[in-house]
Protein backbone atom coordinates (compact mmCIF):
# COMPACT_ATOMS: atom_id res chain seq x y z
CA UNK A 1 0.00 0.00 0.00
CA UNK A 2 3.01 2.29 0.39
CA UNK A 3 3.61 3.64 -3.08
CA UNK A 4 7.04 3.94 -4.54
CA UNK A 5 6.22 7.00 -6.66
CA UNK A 6 6.27 9.85 -4.22
CA UNK A 7 5.52 13.30 -5.42
CA UNK A 8 8.08 15.57 -3.85
CA UNK A 9 6.43 18.91 -3.99
CA UNK A 10 8.68 20.99 -1.86
CA UNK A 11 12.34 21.12 -2.77
CA UNK A 12 14.90 22.26 -1.73
CA UNK A 13 14.48 21.93 1.97
CA UNK A 14 16.24 22.28 5.27
CA UNK A 15 15.94 20.14 8.35
CA UNK A 16 13.57 22.63 9.94
CA UNK A 17 11.19 22.14 7.03
CA UNK A 18 11.09 18.41 7.66
CA UNK A 19 10.19 19.08 11.27
CA UNK A 20 7.25 21.22 10.19
CA UNK A 21 6.13 18.44 7.83
CA UNK A 22 6.27 16.07 10.77
CA UNK A 23 3.84 18.27 12.70
CA UNK A 24 1.03 17.14 10.38
CA UNK A 25 1.42 13.47 11.40
CA UNK A 26 2.22 14.23 15.02
CA UNK A 27 -1.38 14.46 16.32
CA UNK A 28 -2.09 10.94 14.99
CA UNK A 29 1.08 9.63 16.60
CA UNK A 30 0.15 11.26 19.92
CA UNK A 31 -3.28 9.59 19.95
CA UNK A 32 -1.69 6.25 19.10
CA UNK A 33 0.94 6.73 21.80
CA UNK A 34 -1.72 7.28 24.47
CA UNK A 35 -4.42 4.84 23.33
CA UNK A 36 -2.39 2.12 21.61
CA UNK A 37 1.28 2.01 22.55
CA UNK A 38 0.87 2.88 26.23
CA UNK A 39 -1.89 0.25 26.77
CA UNK A 40 0.30 -2.23 24.90
CA UNK A 41 3.22 -1.65 27.27
CA UNK A 42 0.93 -1.64 30.29
CA UNK A 43 -0.66 -4.82 28.96
CA UNK A 44 2.75 -6.54 29.04
CA UNK A 45 3.21 -5.32 32.64
CA UNK A 46 -0.26 -6.59 33.63
CA UNK A 47 0.39 -9.99 32.09
CA UNK A 48 3.40 -10.68 34.32
CA UNK A 49 1.68 -9.64 37.56
CA UNK A 50 -0.95 -11.00 39.88
CA UNK A 51 -3.80 -8.59 40.36
CA UNK A 52 -6.33 -7.65 43.00
CA UNK A 53 -9.28 -6.17 41.20
CA UNK A 54 -7.50 -4.12 38.57
CA UNK A 55 -4.47 -3.27 40.76
CA UNK A 56 -1.11 -4.96 40.42
CA UNK A 57 0.12 -7.07 43.33
CA UNK A 58 3.00 -9.59 42.92
CA UNK A 59 5.36 -9.96 40.01
CA UNK A 60 4.93 -13.54 38.76
CA UNK A 61 7.12 -13.56 35.67
CA UNK A 62 5.82 -15.82 32.92
CA UNK A 63 3.59 -17.91 35.21
CA UNK A 64 0.37 -16.71 33.56
CA UNK A 65 1.71 -17.56 30.12
CA UNK A 66 2.80 -21.01 31.30
CA UNK A 67 -0.60 -21.64 32.88
CA UNK A 68 -2.43 -20.59 29.70
CA UNK A 69 -0.23 -22.59 27.37
CA UNK A 70 0.21 -25.77 29.44
CA UNK A 71 -2.66 -25.98 31.91
CA UNK A 72 -5.84 -24.29 30.71
CA UNK A 73 -8.18 -26.50 28.70
CA UNK A 74 -10.65 -23.65 28.18
CA UNK A 75 -7.96 -21.43 26.71
CA UNK A 76 -6.81 -24.26 24.45
CA UNK A 77 -10.36 -24.67 23.24
CA UNK A 78 -10.77 -20.96 22.56
CA UNK A 79 -7.44 -20.74 20.76
CA UNK A 80 -8.30 -23.72 18.55
CA UNK A 81 -11.77 -22.26 17.92
CA UNK A 82 -10.27 -18.89 16.95
CA UNK A 83 -7.78 -20.35 14.50
CA UNK A 84 -10.31 -22.82 13.06
CA UNK A 85 -12.95 -20.12 12.68
CA UNK A 86 -10.43 -17.79 11.05
CA UNK A 87 -9.27 -20.48 8.64
CA UNK A 88 -12.85 -21.25 7.67
CA UNK A 89 -13.66 -17.54 7.32
CA UNK A 90 -10.66 -16.97 5.03
CA UNK A 91 -11.59 -19.86 2.73
CA UNK A 92 -15.38 -19.40 2.72
CA UNK A 93 -15.49 -15.60 2.65
CA UNK A 94 -12.91 -15.37 -0.12
CA UNK A 95 -14.48 -18.25 -2.05
CA UNK A 96 -18.03 -17.00 -1.76
CA UNK A 97 -16.96 -13.42 -2.45
CA UNK A 98 -15.18 -14.55 -5.61
CA UNK A 99 -18.09 -16.72 -6.73
CA UNK A 100 -20.56 -13.86 -6.27
CA UNK A 101 -18.25 -11.43 -8.07
CA UNK A 102 -17.81 -13.77 -11.05
CA UNK A 103 -21.58 -14.37 -11.25
CA UNK A 104 -22.40 -10.67 -10.96
CA UNK A 105 -19.76 -9.71 -13.53
CA UNK A 106 -21.71 -11.78 -16.09
CA UNK A 107 -25.24 -10.50 -15.52
CA UNK A 108 -26.90 -8.14 -17.97
CA UNK A 109 -29.56 -6.82 -15.63
CA UNK A 110 -28.92 -5.84 -12.03
CA UNK A 111 -25.30 -4.74 -12.47
CA UNK A 112 -25.69 -2.16 -9.71
CA UNK A 113 -28.50 -3.82 -7.75
CA UNK A 114 -26.78 -7.14 -6.98
CA UNK A 115 -23.67 -5.61 -5.40
CA UNK A 116 -25.89 -3.48 -3.16
CA UNK A 117 -27.94 -6.48 -2.01
CA UNK A 118 -24.92 -8.60 -1.12
CA UNK A 119 -22.96 -5.76 0.42
CA UNK A 120 -25.79 -4.38 2.58
CA UNK A 121 -25.27 -6.75 5.58
CA UNK A 122 -21.77 -5.31 5.97
CA UNK A 123 -23.16 -2.02 7.29
CA UNK A 124 -25.49 -3.67 9.82
CA UNK A 125 -24.56 -3.66 13.49
CA UNK A 126 -23.05 -6.96 14.70
CA UNK A 127 -25.39 -6.81 17.71
CA UNK A 128 -28.44 -6.74 15.44
CA UNK A 129 -27.04 -9.34 13.03
CA UNK A 130 -26.25 -11.66 15.93
CA UNK A 131 -29.71 -11.25 17.42
CA UNK A 132 -31.51 -11.77 14.09
CA UNK A 133 -29.56 -14.94 13.34
CA UNK A 134 -30.29 -16.17 16.82
CA UNK A 135 -33.96 -15.97 15.87
CA UNK A 136 -33.34 -17.57 12.49
CA UNK A 137 -31.68 -20.53 14.22
CA UNK A 138 -34.27 -20.84 17.01
CA UNK A 139 -36.14 -24.17 17.16
CA UNK A 140 -39.83 -24.09 16.02
CA UNK A 141 -39.71 -20.35 15.50
CA UNK A 142 -36.70 -19.85 13.25
CA UNK A 143 -36.49 -20.36 9.50
CA UNK A 144 -33.43 -22.61 9.49
CA UNK A 145 -35.14 -25.43 11.45
CA UNK A 146 -38.36 -24.79 9.50
CA UNK A 147 -36.69 -25.10 6.10
CA UNK A 148 -34.86 -28.18 7.32
CA UNK A 149 -38.08 -29.92 8.33
CA UNK A 150 -39.81 -28.86 5.11
CA UNK A 151 -37.02 -30.68 3.27
CA UNK A 152 -37.79 -33.79 5.31
CA UNK A 153 -35.15 -33.57 8.02
CA UNK A 154 -36.06 -33.90 11.66
CA UNK A 155 -34.92 -30.39 12.54
CA UNK A 156 -37.94 -28.61 14.00
CA UNK A 157 -36.69 -28.95 17.56
CA UNK A 158 -33.05 -28.69 16.60
CA UNK A 159 -31.19 -25.71 18.08
CA UNK A 160 -27.89 -25.25 16.21
CA UNK A 161 -26.63 -22.59 18.63
CA UNK A 162 -27.30 -24.74 21.70
CA UNK A 163 -25.47 -27.76 20.30
CA UNK A 164 -21.74 -27.93 20.99
CA UNK A 165 -21.03 -29.62 17.65
CA UNK A 166 -22.81 -27.09 15.46
CA UNK A 167 -22.78 -23.79 17.36
CA UNK A 168 -19.50 -22.46 15.97
CA UNK A 169 -20.59 -23.20 12.39
CA UNK A 170 -23.96 -21.59 12.96
CA UNK A 171 -22.09 -18.43 13.95
CA UNK A 172 -19.96 -18.88 10.85
CA UNK A 173 -23.09 -18.76 8.67
CA UNK A 174 -24.09 -15.40 10.15
CA UNK A 175 -20.51 -14.17 9.82
CA UNK A 176 -20.35 -15.22 6.19
CA UNK A 177 -23.66 -13.51 5.46
CA UNK A 178 -22.34 -10.29 6.94
CA UNK A 179 -18.88 -10.22 5.34
CA UNK A 180 -18.93 -12.10 2.00
CA UNK A 181 -20.27 -8.96 0.31
CA UNK A 182 -17.13 -7.05 1.22
CA UNK A 183 -14.91 -9.58 -0.56
CA UNK A 184 -17.36 -9.56 -3.45
CA UNK A 185 -17.12 -5.79 -4.05
CA UNK A 186 -13.33 -5.89 -3.93
CA UNK A 187 -13.19 -8.73 -6.47
CA UNK A 188 -15.92 -7.21 -8.63
CA UNK A 189 -14.10 -3.86 -8.89
CA UNK A 190 -10.98 -5.74 -10.00
CA UNK A 191 -12.82 -7.99 -12.49
CA UNK A 192 -14.51 -5.01 -14.09
CA UNK A 193 -11.11 -3.36 -14.49
CA UNK A 194 -9.54 -6.39 -16.24
CA UNK A 195 -8.60 -5.80 -19.89
CA UNK A 196 -11.11 -7.47 -22.21
CA UNK A 197 -8.52 -8.71 -24.72
CA UNK A 198 -7.33 -11.61 -22.57
CA UNK A 199 -10.75 -13.20 -22.43
CA UNK A 200 -11.50 -12.43 -26.08
CA UNK A 201 -8.36 -14.14 -27.35
CA UNK A 202 -9.00 -17.07 -24.98
CA UNK A 203 -12.48 -17.47 -26.47
CA UNK A 204 -10.96 -17.44 -29.97
CA UNK A 205 -8.62 -20.23 -28.93
CA UNK A 206 -11.61 -22.23 -27.72
CA UNK A 207 -11.03 -22.05 -23.96
CA UNK A 208 -13.97 -23.11 -21.81
CA UNK A 209 -15.34 -20.73 -19.20
CA UNK A 210 -13.73 -22.72 -16.43
CA UNK A 211 -10.38 -22.66 -18.23
CA UNK A 212 -10.73 -18.92 -18.70
CA UNK A 213 -11.34 -18.51 -15.00
CA UNK A 214 -8.48 -20.80 -14.02
CA UNK A 215 -5.89 -19.49 -16.44
CA UNK A 216 -6.83 -15.80 -16.70
CA UNK A 217 -9.18 -14.42 -14.05
CA UNK A 218 -7.80 -16.22 -10.99
CA UNK A 219 -4.10 -15.38 -11.60
CA UNK A 220 -4.91 -11.78 -12.49
CA UNK A 221 -6.95 -11.40 -9.29
CA UNK A 222 -4.07 -12.60 -7.13
CA UNK A 223 -3.32 -9.14 -5.67
CA UNK A 224 -6.92 -8.93 -4.42
CA UNK A 225 -6.85 -12.48 -3.04
CA UNK A 226 -3.60 -11.66 -1.29
CA UNK A 227 -5.04 -8.54 0.34
CA UNK A 228 -8.38 -10.15 1.23
CA UNK A 229 -6.77 -13.19 2.85
CA UNK A 230 -4.62 -10.93 5.02
CA UNK A 231 -7.52 -8.60 5.89
CA UNK A 232 -9.86 -11.49 6.73
CA UNK A 233 -7.21 -13.09 8.91
CA UNK A 234 -6.59 -9.85 10.80
CA UNK A 235 -10.30 -9.13 11.11
CA UNK A 236 -11.34 -12.62 12.24
CA UNK A 237 -8.64 -13.58 14.75
CA UNK A 238 -9.97 -10.77 16.98
CA UNK A 239 -13.61 -11.87 16.69
CA UNK A 240 -15.67 -10.96 19.73
CA UNK A 241 -18.94 -9.12 19.09
CA UNK A 242 -21.05 -11.58 17.06
CA UNK A 243 -19.93 -14.54 19.18
CA UNK A 244 -20.69 -12.70 22.39
CA UNK A 245 -24.15 -11.71 21.22
CA UNK A 246 -25.06 -15.13 19.84
CA UNK A 247 -23.66 -17.51 22.47
CA UNK A 248 -21.37 -15.71 24.97
CA UNK A 249 -18.88 -18.46 24.14
CA UNK A 250 -21.21 -21.30 25.12
CA UNK A 251 -22.50 -23.97 25.22
CA UNK A 252 -19.71 -25.09 27.58
CA UNK A 253 -17.00 -23.09 25.75
CA UNK A 254 -17.82 -24.67 22.38
CA UNK A 255 -17.79 -21.21 20.75
CA UNK A 256 -15.34 -19.41 23.02
CA UNK A 257 -12.76 -17.41 21.08
CA UNK A 258 -9.66 -15.95 22.67
CA UNK A 259 -11.33 -12.52 22.76
CA UNK A 260 -14.48 -13.80 24.53
CA UNK A 261 -12.30 -15.85 26.88
CA UNK A 262 -10.24 -12.75 27.72
CA UNK A 263 -13.40 -10.74 28.31
CA UNK A 264 -15.04 -13.22 30.67
CA UNK A 265 -11.80 -14.03 32.49
CA UNK A 266 -11.09 -10.33 33.11
CA UNK A 267 -14.52 -8.85 33.65
CA UNK A 268 -16.51 -11.78 35.07
CA UNK A 269 -13.89 -13.72 37.01
CA UNK A 270 -11.59 -10.74 37.65
CA UNK A 271 -8.40 -12.65 36.85
CA UNK A 272 -7.07 -9.55 35.20
CA UNK A 273 -3.36 -10.30 34.86
CA UNK A 274 -4.08 -13.79 33.62
CA UNK A 275 -6.63 -12.55 31.09
CA UNK A 276 -4.09 -10.08 29.73
CA UNK A 277 -1.52 -12.86 29.32
CA UNK A 278 -4.06 -14.66 27.11
CA UNK A 279 -4.60 -11.42 25.16
CA UNK A 280 -0.84 -11.10 24.61
CA UNK A 281 -0.72 -14.69 23.32
CA UNK A 282 -3.49 -13.76 20.87
CA UNK A 283 -1.46 -10.76 19.72
CA UNK A 284 1.52 -13.05 19.21
CA UNK A 285 -0.63 -15.47 17.16
CA UNK A 286 -1.91 -12.55 15.06
CA UNK A 287 1.63 -11.35 14.33
CA UNK A 288 2.86 -14.88 13.60
CA UNK A 289 0.03 -15.81 11.22
CA UNK A 290 0.16 -12.45 9.45
CA UNK A 291 3.90 -12.72 8.78
CA UNK A 292 3.55 -16.37 7.77
CA UNK A 293 0.70 -15.69 5.36
CA UNK A 294 2.48 -12.68 3.95
CA UNK A 295 5.56 -14.70 3.14
CA UNK A 296 3.70 -17.66 1.63
CA UNK A 297 1.33 -15.50 -0.43
CA UNK A 298 4.13 -13.19 -1.54
CA UNK A 299 6.15 -16.12 -2.88
CA UNK A 300 3.09 -17.27 -4.78
CA UNK A 301 2.64 -13.75 -6.13
CA UNK A 302 6.21 -13.81 -7.46
CA UNK A 303 5.61 -17.05 -9.31
CA UNK A 304 2.43 -15.64 -10.82
CA UNK A 305 4.25 -12.54 -12.01
CA UNK A 306 7.08 -14.43 -13.71
Amino acid sequence: MIGSRTPWAFVPRARREGAIDLLFVLPTLLILAVFLFYPLVYGVVLSVHDTKGFDLTNFVGLDHYARAIFGDAVFHRSLVNTVLFTGAAVVLQTGLGLLLAVLIADVKRGRTLFPIVFFAPFVLAPVAVGAVWKFLFAPYFGIVPAVGSALGFDTLTFAPLANADTALWAIMAAFLWRFAGFNMVVYLAAIRALPREYHESAVLEGASRFQQFRRITWPLLWPQTFTLVLLTTLGTLRIFDMVWIMTEGGPSHATDTVATDVYSTAFRFLQVGYAQAMAMILLFVILLLTVLEYRILDRRADSVRS
Binding site: V25, P27, L32, P39, I116, P121, M280
Partner: protein, 263 residues
Amino acid sequence: MVLGVLAVIWLYPVVWTLTNAIKSSADIYRAPWDLPWPPAIGNIGEAWSRGQLGVALANSGYVTAMTVAIVLALSIAGAYSLTWLRPPHRAVLFILVLAPLIIPTEVLIVPLFSMFRALGLINSLPGLALTNVVPNVSFATVILTGYFRTIPRDVIDAARVDGAGRMEVLLRMVIPLARPGILAVAVLVAVFTWNDFGGSLVLIQKPDAFTVQLALSRFSTFYATDQGLTFAGMAIVILPPLLLFLVLQRGFIQGLTAGVVRR
Protein backbone atom coordinates in the same frame (compact mmCIF):
# COMPACT_ATOMS: atom_id res chain seq x y z
CA MET B 1 -30.88 -17.54 -11.75
CA VAL B 2 -28.53 -18.86 -9.05
CA LEU B 3 -27.74 -15.26 -8.29
CA GLY B 4 -31.41 -14.37 -7.93
CA VAL B 5 -31.97 -17.15 -5.39
CA LEU B 6 -28.88 -16.11 -3.46
CA ALA B 7 -30.00 -12.49 -3.51
CA VAL B 8 -33.35 -13.44 -1.99
CA ILE B 9 -31.60 -15.44 0.74
CA TRP B 10 -29.32 -12.48 1.39
CA LEU B 11 -32.11 -9.94 1.59
CA TYR B 12 -34.41 -12.13 3.60
CA PRO B 13 -33.05 -11.54 7.13
CA VAL B 14 -33.10 -7.78 6.61
CA VAL B 15 -36.65 -7.70 5.28
CA TRP B 16 -37.76 -10.07 8.03
CA THR B 17 -36.28 -7.81 10.72
CA LEU B 18 -37.96 -4.75 9.30
CA THR B 19 -41.39 -6.39 8.90
CA ASN B 20 -41.28 -8.01 12.33
CA ALA B 21 -40.56 -4.59 13.80
CA ILE B 22 -44.13 -3.57 13.07
CA LYS B 23 -45.77 -6.84 14.11
CA SER B 24 -47.31 -7.59 17.45
CA SER B 25 -45.51 -10.25 19.47
CA ALA B 26 -48.56 -12.52 19.21
CA ASP B 27 -48.42 -12.30 15.41
CA ILE B 28 -44.69 -12.98 15.36
CA TYR B 29 -45.20 -16.24 17.22
CA ARG B 30 -48.38 -17.24 15.43
CA ALA B 31 -47.14 -16.50 11.92
CA PRO B 32 -43.52 -15.34 11.86
CA TRP B 33 -43.45 -15.31 8.04
CA ASP B 34 -46.62 -13.36 7.26
CA LEU B 35 -46.70 -9.76 6.22
CA PRO B 36 -47.23 -7.35 9.11
CA TRP B 37 -50.93 -6.70 8.83
CA PRO B 38 -52.41 -4.86 10.59
CA PRO B 39 -49.13 -3.09 11.31
CA ALA B 40 -48.31 -2.70 15.00
CA ILE B 41 -46.67 0.72 14.69
CA GLY B 42 -46.90 1.03 18.47
CA ASN B 43 -43.83 -1.25 18.79
CA ILE B 44 -41.57 1.51 17.60
CA GLY B 45 -42.75 4.04 20.15
CA GLU B 46 -42.67 1.53 22.94
CA ALA B 47 -39.18 0.32 22.06
CA TRP B 48 -38.13 3.95 22.02
CA SER B 49 -39.45 4.70 25.50
CA ARG B 50 -39.05 1.39 27.34
CA GLY B 51 -35.66 0.59 25.87
CA GLN B 52 -34.45 4.17 26.46
CA LEU B 53 -33.49 4.31 22.81
CA GLY B 54 -33.86 8.09 22.63
CA VAL B 55 -30.98 8.62 25.07
CA ALA B 56 -28.93 5.85 23.44
CA LEU B 57 -29.41 7.34 19.97
CA ALA B 58 -28.28 10.74 21.24
CA ASN B 59 -25.23 9.16 22.92
CA SER B 60 -24.27 7.18 19.83
CA GLY B 61 -24.82 10.23 17.63
CA TYR B 62 -22.52 12.24 19.87
CA VAL B 63 -19.77 9.60 19.97
CA THR B 64 -20.04 9.05 16.21
CA ALA B 65 -19.89 12.77 15.35
CA MET B 66 -16.91 13.28 17.63
CA THR B 67 -15.04 10.24 16.29
CA VAL B 68 -15.64 11.25 12.66
CA ALA B 69 -14.49 14.83 13.30
CA ILE B 70 -11.29 13.78 15.07
CA VAL B 71 -10.49 11.02 12.56
CA LEU B 72 -10.98 13.36 9.60
CA ALA B 73 -8.78 16.08 11.09
CA LEU B 74 -6.00 13.62 11.97
CA SER B 75 -6.11 11.51 8.83
CA ILE B 76 -6.31 14.41 6.36
CA ALA B 77 -3.29 16.08 7.96
CA GLY B 78 -1.44 12.78 8.29
CA ALA B 79 -2.14 11.55 4.77
CA TYR B 80 -1.14 14.96 3.39
CA SER B 81 2.17 14.83 5.19
CA LEU B 82 2.84 11.23 4.11
CA THR B 83 2.10 11.91 0.44
CA TRP B 84 2.93 15.53 -0.44
CA LEU B 85 5.31 16.60 2.33
CA ARG B 86 8.67 15.21 3.40
CA PRO B 87 8.67 14.34 7.09
CA PRO B 88 11.84 12.53 8.23
CA HIS B 89 11.61 8.72 8.37
CA ARG B 90 8.47 8.61 6.31
CA ALA B 91 8.43 4.80 6.02
CA VAL B 92 8.68 4.39 9.78
CA LEU B 93 5.87 6.89 10.31
CA PHE B 94 3.71 4.94 7.89
CA ILE B 95 4.29 1.70 9.77
CA LEU B 96 3.45 3.37 13.09
CA VAL B 97 0.19 4.71 11.64
CA LEU B 98 -0.67 1.21 10.38
CA ALA B 99 -0.01 -0.44 13.76
CA PRO B 100 -3.69 -0.44 14.88
CA LEU B 101 -4.58 -2.68 11.92
CA ILE B 102 -2.38 -5.41 13.44
CA ILE B 103 -2.96 -4.65 17.14
CA PRO B 104 -6.73 -4.82 17.62
CA THR B 105 -8.59 -3.11 20.47
CA GLU B 106 -9.70 -6.56 21.71
CA VAL B 107 -6.12 -7.35 22.71
CA LEU B 108 -5.80 -4.10 24.70
CA ILE B 109 -9.24 -3.91 26.24
CA VAL B 110 -8.04 -4.94 29.73
CA PRO B 111 -5.24 -2.33 30.03
CA LEU B 112 -7.52 0.25 28.39
CA PHE B 113 -10.19 -0.37 31.00
CA SER B 114 -7.57 -0.15 33.74
CA MET B 115 -6.24 3.10 32.34
CA PHE B 116 -9.70 4.62 31.86
CA ARG B 117 -10.65 3.69 35.41
CA ALA B 118 -7.55 5.43 36.78
CA LEU B 119 -8.35 8.53 34.70
CA GLY B 120 -12.04 8.51 35.66
CA LEU B 121 -13.03 8.04 32.00
CA ILE B 122 -15.37 5.06 32.52
CA ASN B 123 -18.82 6.12 31.26
CA SER B 124 -17.21 9.05 29.43
CA LEU B 125 -18.49 9.39 25.87
CA PRO B 126 -15.48 11.47 24.70
CA GLY B 127 -13.28 8.72 26.18
CA LEU B 128 -15.14 6.12 24.13
CA ALA B 129 -14.78 8.32 21.04
CA LEU B 130 -11.00 8.46 21.52
CA THR B 131 -10.71 4.67 21.68
CA ASN B 132 -12.76 4.50 18.50
CA VAL B 133 -10.39 6.96 16.83
CA VAL B 134 -7.44 4.56 17.02
CA PRO B 135 -8.46 1.82 14.56
CA ASN B 136 -10.37 4.26 12.35
CA VAL B 137 -7.61 6.83 11.92
CA SER B 138 -5.39 4.05 10.65
CA PHE B 139 -7.54 2.85 7.76
CA ALA B 140 -8.72 6.42 7.06
CA THR B 141 -5.12 7.51 6.55
CA VAL B 142 -4.49 4.53 4.25
CA ILE B 143 -7.53 5.31 2.09
CA LEU B 144 -6.78 9.04 1.97
CA THR B 145 -3.12 8.57 0.99
CA GLY B 146 -4.52 6.58 -1.95
CA TYR B 147 -6.80 9.44 -2.93
CA PHE B 148 -4.20 12.17 -2.38
CA ARG B 149 -1.71 10.38 -4.62
CA THR B 150 -4.10 10.56 -7.54
CA ILE B 151 -3.86 14.37 -7.55
CA PRO B 152 -1.60 15.30 -10.48
CA ARG B 153 1.77 16.54 -9.33
CA ASP B 154 1.65 19.50 -11.72
CA VAL B 155 -1.37 20.91 -9.92
CA ILE B 156 0.44 20.95 -6.60
CA ASP B 157 3.70 22.23 -8.11
CA ALA B 158 1.92 25.07 -9.87
CA ALA B 159 0.32 26.20 -6.62
CA ARG B 160 3.69 25.94 -4.93
CA VAL B 161 5.38 28.08 -7.59
CA ASP B 162 2.71 30.70 -7.06
CA GLY B 163 3.92 30.94 -3.47
CA ALA B 164 1.30 28.86 -1.67
CA GLY B 165 2.44 27.45 1.68
CA ARG B 166 1.69 23.99 3.08
CA MET B 167 -1.61 24.94 4.64
CA GLU B 168 -2.75 26.80 1.56
CA VAL B 169 -1.97 23.84 -0.71
CA LEU B 170 -3.84 21.55 1.70
CA LEU B 171 -6.90 23.75 2.10
CA ARG B 172 -7.16 25.14 -1.45
CA MET B 173 -6.01 22.18 -3.55
CA VAL B 174 -5.78 18.83 -1.78
CA ILE B 175 -8.99 18.86 0.25
CA PRO B 176 -11.26 20.15 -2.54
CA LEU B 177 -9.77 17.69 -5.07
CA ALA B 178 -10.07 14.72 -2.73
CA ARG B 179 -13.58 15.57 -1.55
CA PRO B 180 -15.20 12.27 -2.73
CA GLY B 181 -12.55 10.30 -0.86
CA ILE B 182 -12.99 12.37 2.28
CA LEU B 183 -16.76 11.92 2.16
CA ALA B 184 -16.39 8.16 1.72
CA VAL B 185 -14.00 7.99 4.68
CA ALA B 186 -16.37 10.05 6.84
CA VAL B 187 -19.29 7.73 6.09
CA LEU B 188 -17.26 4.57 6.70
CA VAL B 189 -15.93 5.84 10.01
CA ALA B 190 -19.45 6.85 11.02
CA VAL B 191 -20.84 3.39 10.28
CA PHE B 192 -17.98 1.57 12.03
CA THR B 193 -18.31 3.78 15.11
CA TRP B 194 -22.09 3.50 15.24
CA ASN B 195 -21.79 -0.29 15.09
CA ASP B 196 -18.99 -0.66 17.67
CA PHE B 197 -19.93 -2.99 20.48
CA GLY B 198 -16.83 -4.37 22.23
CA GLY B 199 -15.40 -1.01 23.28
CA SER B 200 -18.63 0.35 24.70
CA LEU B 201 -19.43 -2.97 26.45
CA VAL B 202 -16.33 -2.54 28.58
CA LEU B 203 -15.98 1.23 28.90
CA ILE B 204 -19.63 2.23 29.41
CA GLN B 205 -21.58 0.89 32.40
CA LYS B 206 -24.19 3.51 33.36
CA PRO B 207 -27.47 3.09 31.45
CA ASP B 208 -27.73 6.82 30.77
CA ALA B 209 -24.40 6.69 28.90
CA PHE B 210 -25.40 3.59 26.88
CA THR B 211 -24.77 3.57 23.15
CA VAL B 212 -27.40 2.10 20.83
CA GLN B 213 -25.51 -1.19 20.62
CA LEU B 214 -25.51 -1.58 24.40
CA ALA B 215 -29.17 -0.62 24.64
CA LEU B 216 -29.95 -3.15 21.91
CA SER B 217 -27.95 -5.92 23.57
CA ARG B 218 -30.11 -5.39 26.66
CA PHE B 219 -33.29 -5.75 24.62
CA SER B 220 -33.00 -9.44 23.93
CA THR B 221 -32.33 -10.22 27.58
CA PHE B 222 -34.66 -7.73 29.31
CA TYR B 223 -37.63 -7.97 26.98
CA ALA B 224 -37.13 -11.57 25.94
CA THR B 225 -40.86 -12.18 26.04
CA ASP B 226 -41.74 -9.25 23.83
CA GLN B 227 -40.23 -10.05 20.43
CA GLY B 228 -42.08 -7.28 18.63
CA LEU B 229 -40.23 -4.81 20.83
CA THR B 230 -36.88 -6.48 20.19
CA PHE B 231 -37.33 -6.32 16.44
CA ALA B 232 -38.49 -2.71 16.64
CA GLY B 233 -35.31 -1.89 18.57
CA MET B 234 -33.16 -3.65 15.97
CA ALA B 235 -34.89 -1.82 13.13
CA ILE B 236 -34.27 1.56 14.77
CA VAL B 237 -30.58 0.78 15.31
CA ILE B 238 -29.81 -0.67 11.85
CA LEU B 239 -31.74 1.89 9.81
CA PRO B 240 -29.39 4.92 10.03
CA PRO B 241 -26.33 3.10 8.59
CA LEU B 242 -28.50 1.20 6.11
CA LEU B 243 -30.11 4.39 4.76
CA LEU B 244 -26.75 6.16 4.65
CA PHE B 245 -25.37 3.25 2.64
CA LEU B 246 -28.31 3.11 0.23
CA VAL B 247 -28.10 6.85 -0.44
CA LEU B 248 -24.33 6.95 -0.87
CA GLN B 249 -23.73 3.36 -1.97
CA ARG B 250 -21.46 4.14 -4.90
CA GLY B 251 -19.10 6.39 -2.95
CA PHE B 252 -19.29 4.03 0.00
CA ILE B 253 -18.15 0.94 -1.91
CA GLN B 254 -15.57 2.88 -3.92
CA GLY B 255 -14.12 4.38 -0.77
CA LEU B 256 -13.78 0.98 0.80
CA THR B 257 -12.30 -0.77 -2.23
CA ALA B 258 -9.97 2.14 -3.03
CA GLY B 259 -7.79 1.40 -0.03
CA VAL B 260 -7.78 -2.32 -0.73
CA VAL B 261 -7.49 -2.61 -4.49
CA ARG B 262 -4.82 -0.01 -5.17
CA ARG B 263 -1.58 -1.91 -4.87
